[in-house]
Amino acid sequence: MLIKVLGPGCAKCKRVEQLTREALAELGLAADFEHVTQLEQIMAYPIMTTPALVVDEVVKCSGRIPSKDEILAWLKQ
């Protein structure tokens, strides 16, 4: 599984990563993480605002910090 956090690397981006890592641990899953900080790369995804969470190249949310429950549901899919 490949997890991407899109955003400039601010506190919100770090929070998204932290919650996602916690969710992965709860599910006993492993994933590779990638931070995408370049605007040309971020805006290649269909989003307008960051932070955004991308799981296996599917945008799960953007412009907000998702709850851990949301992330758990996405990771189970």
Partner: protein
Amino acid sequence: MNAAAAPAPLPQAKECCPTSTRKRIEFKHALLVDVREKDELEKLALDVPDLLNIPLSDFERRFKEIPRDRQVIMVSADGHDSLRATYYLMREGYEDVLNMTDGIAKWILRGFPVKGDCSGFKLDVNAGGCCSAS
């Protein structure tokens, strides 16, 4: 199952300074699109003959109001939000879209016309470097 491929990065957005923007309005009939919120626009707006306001908060829903057959220059307070909107339009297939570098702050510093009150507008952008400087 293999994951989908990552989208290719977009090419670097084209940018133009306020002076070039004015020339493009005059000679290329360029349309300015201000992505600030409506209340910000009501306080201070560029004094240009043709301006479209599509706030960033509503951009994904309304971007199709922007014509594709005309040069478009995206504008925001300091050029950052408009750069994001520029890339969004590029991804949507708009071919002639530019970002106004340093935004309205640079426009004001160049002494170009605005409607409204400039006092209190954040002007912490590079004051020099515009192409009309001689």
